[in-house]
Symmetry: C2
Subunit: 458 residues, 2 copies
């Protein structure tokens, strides 16, 4: 029988990240008046060393040794062959996942939380603020801040805060503080509560709160941290795909299909970007970001300039967006409840290099349970979205009689999401679709903004 775990020797851990900005073009971030954002504009929000990374077009960027030291707590991550799922589906496809669920917070998020905390520390920052959806990102930043001795304050989308009280405890284990958003601590939070006192919250609102809390700190020693969307976040996540490439090479394979769930885009990007260059250079390769049908950013929303947050504190970013006022239904894949998408991922979709797919909540949970029964591990609901697409691809390969190599990111485990699975098993979850009318209304907000240019990378 074959080996299920393809391990990379610790000495083979990648020493550089891959920067996709060396190989694709992006529409630049703009101010609301249409003028380009300068590094100085971002200085109150992020430390300058991360801003430099955000705009760099250097293809390979060194990973600092103190960052590698922390990443080695759980990296290199296994490339896992899903032999049990293959047998259950009776497919000739070879299914692999890159297991990012083994990090202390349980997801891929610390891949960027650790370098972000490190660069903030080096820049002299004492306190970091952020938002979190499902809680994966907030946990990751709390963990990373503990490693470098930085304070951490996390604004957690209220619906997730209530569904997952233990995420708060997890952050507290690492010395982090977690408050439900919208809170009454910030102007943005109070405005959201005034609009709807019973709002479930959204990532857009929580981002506004965290940015405001950072830029209004009179000490000047607080900065904001974003767990997805931005270029430097995608950069840090490429360690996933760089490891996977080495692991595939060690067994003499190369993927035919790449799958990753996409909320803000970072977990998808982490696996896919190192393979994108090969596709740009002519390699035949299907690349699928997967999103919930209830929050169809890539599959149904237009490619526009829009704000990354609800209050409009962030620059205008060229991306697929459902509109920055969009409050997604409280589906349990909290990490995928975001109105926008990373500009890099959006650009790949705009050019047809990445082809997005949407799955329903039922498809996702069914795939999550199937995975647990065949492979044991319980996937996060976000991960289950990717697995639903993997199942579809594997069944298609069966129909075609092709031993395709399919690889997905197993973005995190679902051990803190068992309440959602409990509801699914009890038949209490239902599917939500966005109507055409809802889509039209929610995308009205950016009609008067500048429009992105059509750019071509190949």
């Amino acid at each position: 029988m074959s080996d299920r775990n393809i391990l990379l020797p610790v000495s083979e851990i990648p020493r550089q990240w891959y920067n996709i900005l060396a190989d694709i073009q992006l529409n630049p971030p703009l101010k609301p008046d249409g003028s380009p954002v300068t590094p100085e504009d971002l200085a109150p929000v992020f430390p300058m060393n991360l801003i430099e990374q955000e705009v760099s077009t250097q293809r390979w960027i060194d990973i600092p040794e103190p960052v590698l030291d922390v990443l080695r707590i759980w990296r290199p991550a296994p490339l896992y062959r899903a032999l049990g799922l293959e047998r259950a589906l009776g497919t000739p496809a070879r299914i692999f996942v890159k297991n990012e669920g083994l990090s202390p917070p349980g997801s891929h998020k610390p891949n960027t939380a650790v370098p972000q905390a490190y660069y903030n520390k080096v820049f002299g920052i004492r306190r970091m603020t952020t938002e979190t959806g499902a809680g994966q990102w907030g946990s990751a930043l709390a963990f990373a801040c503990a490693q470098f001795g930085i304070e951490c304050r996390v604004y957690m989308v209220r619906v997730s805060f209530e569904q997952k009280p233990y995420r708060k405890t997890m952050m507290a284990m690492w010395g982090g503080q977690c408050v439900p958003s919208p809170s009454s601590e910030t102007r943005a939070g109070r405005a959201a509560l005034a609009r709807d006192p019973r709002t479930p919250g959204s990532l857009g609102i929580a981002i506004s709160e965290a940015v405001e809390a950072a830029v209004t700190d009179p000490s000047g020693k607080t900065r904001y941290s974003l767990g997805s969307v931005l270029n430097h976040v995608m950069l840090h996540q490429t360690i996933i795909g760089l490891e996977a490439k080495k692991q595939f090479a060690s067994i003499g394979l190369y993927p035919d299909v790449i799958v990753g769930c996409a909320g803000g885009g970072s977990n998808f990007a982490g696996l896919a970007f190192p393979f994108v260059l090969d596709k740009i250079n002519g390699r035949e390769l299907a690349i699928h970001p997967v999103e919930p049908a209830a929050c169809p950013t890539l599959t149904r929303a237009p490619f526009v300039y829009d704000h990354g947050d609800t209050a409009g504190y962030t620059p205008l970013l060229a991306m697929h967006s459902l509109g920055h006022d969009f409050v997604p239904p409280p589906i349990h894949a909290g990490g995928l409840r975001y109105h926008g998408m990373a500009p890099t991922v959006s650009q790949l979709v705009a050019e047809g290099i990445a082809e997005p797919r949407a799955v329903t909540q039922s498809e996702a949970y069914a795939a999550g349970v199937l995975w647990a029964r065949t492979e044991g591990t319980i996937p996060a609901p976000e991960t289950a979205n990717a697995l639903a697409q993997v199942v579809k691809e594997a069944l298609q390969a069966k129909e075609e009689g092709r031993a395709k190599v399919i690889v997905a990111t197993f973005s995190g485990h679902g051990l803190l999401d068992l309440a959602a699975y409990e509801k699914y098993l009890a038949g209490e979850l239902s599917d939500v679709q966005m109507s055409a009318e809802e889509l039209r209304k929610s995308t009205e907000v950016f009609q008067n903004y500048p429009k992105p240019q059509a750019l071509k990378s190949r």
Copy 2:
């Protein structure tokens, strides 16, 4: 900087278990009348292939390939160097843990659940029953049964069932059924409820229920499974120590101190037994099973013949015991709330080969939080007991100025135990000690039973 993860290549996974019965002598299990238990006596409870393994004195026993196939879902397990904890303690000691928290159910328990389910399947069994304390064992058996297509019914100690509702969901993810014990389903459960309708339950009672449910099934296709205590369980767990030995050899080290928390003894035995032979042959080596001060089986209770369960369904086993009626206080390390101890581990303690230690609940949780802040991973409360002893050993090494090599089993993660940590962080946990009078009363129960002989392995 050094590598934190010492990975064993997948091809190096041990192909045989180590059977300590080849190297030590044990007092045999007895019937209540003092006559030896025969394999036939056990046949209604366990399948004969496992009974044969239970009494085997062959030193090396082959691991079947279908068992290895499932173990490879998460094995080999990393040997992890706790560089962050070493720095925080300022100790010259080199601290390692064998990380058993990466299995799908999150603990070392599937190391035996998988072979047990396999041997039952081969023997034609269709349904397995068991008990669980903290939920780790019940989850492990549900996971293993799903891998081999066997039904699984788990009686979970009521206090843990209530503290950790998600363990039930986890078992349901794998198709297992979980009921709180004592239940009204069995004679043993009803008797316990009659004695005290508000009892928190105990492992002893739950074992009685699970055994009764197995032996009274008229189809004859149900068997009981025990997650600790018995010889074949210890045997299956030795893969932990066998891997660790190879990993230490790969970095040119050998441990000075071995630590494992001990409830029924299996996680301790798994790491320690492969090293015990070296100690018997003259190697200087400290071996410490660690238990909660609230349930002081090895540190304060006598070495006697006693039943493994409360109703007296099991044979008399020669072991350290607090008395089979003992209901431990509801400390959160549910997996360590057991009145007895594996006869093999008890024998090592009786001979002075293993030297037990007790830690308080506060010491354990403090160590758990310290570990989380320095190394990231959140340990199970059971594991935190071992880590508390590791901290003591590392501080002693600092006092002595010795770069001792300390290794412990990281028996499981604490992601389903965050409610207990929440209480600890809020200052709501208090320490419980057993008084001398309580100990005297709880050990009256076996005064008229046969007495074990003093045996000597070296």
